[in-house]
């Protein structure tokens, strides 16, 4: 049985003229013990898909799905209180920018300890020990000092590693990483990714990696979902990304410069509104 099954996920927002805007339309996928990448341009619904799995769509947005199941348990049938026990403990999420996702008036240590104590009945001494261990695991050199630091006192890359420590300390089954490196310098991106990759492998979690960087996803994930206008247009093993069939994926690939096949002029991505609708051939 797969870790996570999502079937026919829809997220809609009411528009001012009384209509509905479909941010995510009919997305289905399954996740096993693997690294799944979700790629798409801005507004293609990839972050919404991540949030919808945790049922954290802010009103007035509405979430519907035929099925969202975590290891066979239907998440749609859970009450809000039952969901709270799942968020963080079983599925957690690393957000985009550590500058905004860490509470500015709490020290880094308090926040990691809180993340642990929310789900484990542990004494604060135990939580402290675990938090320091976790800071060590994300390769922070002087964990004692960073433990006592406020978020504005740590650098962006460090902040993101703190965020990863915070999200991994309850030992979840699935980690959703929503563009975890797009706010970071290129020089620290790979470092943060390597740390995340190692921890995810060691702990045997499923990873959903949301990004707009096709190359990064291709090198980092096992399988890639390509989203356009709220719909999954193509699913590919990462290794076979360059054999993509869908014109959108091809367009994306062709608009990136490549060292091994230099071009004088890069293609401009042309979008076909028909991609937003289900292809007629897919009907059985």
């Amino acid at each position: 049985m797969s870790l996570l099954e999502v079937e026919n996920l829809e997220v809609t927002f009411p528009t001012r003229d009384g209509g509905l805007f479909h941010a995510v339309r009919g997305v289905s996928f399954t996740l096993g013990d693997e690294r799944l990448g979700i790629v798409g341009e801005s507004g293609s619904g990839k972050s919404m898909t991540g949030r919808a799995i945790l049922r954290l769509i802010r009103p007035p947005g509405r979430l519907t799905a035929t099925r969202i199941a975590l290891a066979g348990e239907d998440l749609l049938k859970k009450s809000e209180i039952e969901m709270r026990a799942i968020r963080g403990r079983r599925i957690s999420m690393v957000m985009q920018d550590p500058k905004f996702s860490l509470n500015p008036v709490m020290t880094v240590g308090e926040q990691i300890m809180e993340a642990y104590q929310l789900h484990a009945r542990a004494s604060s001494r135990e939580a402290r020990r675990r938090a320091l261990e976790m800071l060590n695991a994300v390769q922070i050199r002087d964990p004692e000092r960073v433990f006592r630091a406020y978020p504005h006192e740590v650098s962006g890359g460090m902040g993101q590693r703190v965020m990863i420590a915070m999200m991994l300390i309850p030992d979840p089954d699935i980690l959703i990483a929503d563009e975890p490196t797009s706010a970071l310098d290129v020089s620290v991106q790979t470092e943060v990714l390597r740390i995340m990759d190692r921890l995810v492998k060691e702990r045997g979690m499923g990873l959903i990696f949301i990004s707009h960087d096709l190359n990064l996803v291709a090198s980092f994930c096992d399988r890639v979902l390509i989203m356009y206008a709220g719909r999954v247009v193509e699913t590919l093993p990462a290794a076979r990304l360059h054999d993509a069939k869908h014109p959108y994926t091809k367009g994306l690939l062709n608009s990136l410069p490549r060292l091994d096949a230099p071009k004088d002029k890069l293609e401009v991505l042309s979008r076909d509104p028909a991609w937003a609708h289900p292809p007629p051939s897919s009907a059985p």
Binding site: M83, R87, S92, L102, L118, M166
Partner: protein
């Protein structure tokens, strides 16, 4: 002689070394940086002369209240009918005596305790109540928000003193009830501020981050929203203190706050009102005390706001 000079120059040297240490651009430790930040705040505050005057009066008031038994020349309750209504400047009674021959200076000194007691308690109760109501309203939104904010509107629709009067009348006269009544009328502005802050905080990413860790609403409000609202509330409290003193004195004057033998300043004015044309000092002295102290609180609050307000642009 030379010895003393040497000693004082040594003092000056160590003082300038301390100053250097506090004003450094490259703090060597966390504590050093914090001390330097505090010292710079203090320098900024000190450059504001009026605020320093306010601070001076406040410190004097606190000291007077603390050492009232040592400072007061007479027992504030001791009556001496043969020496009633002595004018200010009479030997032994610098500020004169009231209609029962009690020394006005001693009564003012003891009255400062009551004033501080009221201000301190109201300044604790009202912001805390406002903080709770405001953050709950702002965080919950929807019906709860509407209900709590309409209640706040009802409280704001009454003049403060009139509403406090109504509460005291219902609860019965006395200092404790006056404190409760003033707190009940003082919380709505705090609730408004806390709600406004909550509305901006609740959509921020770090609230989303704790939420997706599985934190419930109570933990989010108490652990993550309260600490961020407090700075704006503190600024508001410092500006509100003068109003609290005036409300307490007003209730005392109307006979609904502290009761007569107690040397509460408002009650003293109301006793002196009967003689105001012939013996002006009986009502004037406590009036001056109220004026001085509320002015001091206002000056201090203004200065503190300049230093504390996080939204103030840093130059």
């Amino acid at each position: 002689m030379a010895d003393a000079a040497e000693k004082s120059s040594g003092d000056a040297a160590s003082r300038s070394a301390l100053r250097q240490w506090l004003l450094t651009d490259t703090p060597t430790s966390r504590r050093h940086a914090r001390a330097a930040a505090l010292y710079q705040g203090w320098l900024k505050f000190r450059s504001n002369t009026l605020a320093m005057i306010g601070l001076g009066i406040m410190i004097a008031l606190v000291l007077i209240a603390a050492f009232a038994p040592l400072l007061a020349p007479y027992d504030p309750f001791a009556q001496d009918l043969s020496n009633r209504l002595l004018p200010p400047g009479t030997t032994g009674h610098i500020l004169g005596t009231d209609s029962l021959g009690r020394d006005i200076l001693s009564r003012l000194i003891y009255g400062s305790r009551i004033t501080l007691y009221i201000v301190a308690l109201v300044a604790l109760i009202a912001p805390v109540a406002g903080l709770m109501i405001g953050t709950i309203a702002g965080f919950a939104g929807g019906f709860i928000d509407a209900a709590l904010m309409r209640i706040t509107d009802i409280f704001l629709a009454f003049p403060r003193l009139v509403l406090a009067l109504a509460f005291v009348a219902a609860l019965g006269a006395g200092i404790e009830n006056a404190i409760i009544a003033i707190s009940l009328t003082a919380w709505p502005p705090y609730a408004r501020i806390a709600r406004a802050e909550t509305l901006t905080i609740r959509n921020s990413d770090y609230i989303a981050a704790v939420r997706l860790q599985g934190a419930g609403p109570i933990r989010i409000i108490t652990g993550h929203i309260w600490p961020l609202c407090i700075s704006s509330l503190i600024v508001r409290v410092t500006l509100d203190m003068a109003g609290i003193i005036l409300a307490a004195a007003g209730l005392g004057f109307l006979g609904l706050g502290a009761q007569p033998p107690s040397p509460e300043w408002g009650a003293m004015i109301s006793e002196g009102r009967r003689f105001i044309l012939d013996h002006w000092w009986v009502a004037t002295m406590p009036g001056l005390a109220i004026f001085t102290v509320s002015l001091a609180f206002n000056l201090l609050g203004d200065g503190l706001r300049d230093v504390l307000d996080p939204k103030d642009a840093q130059e």
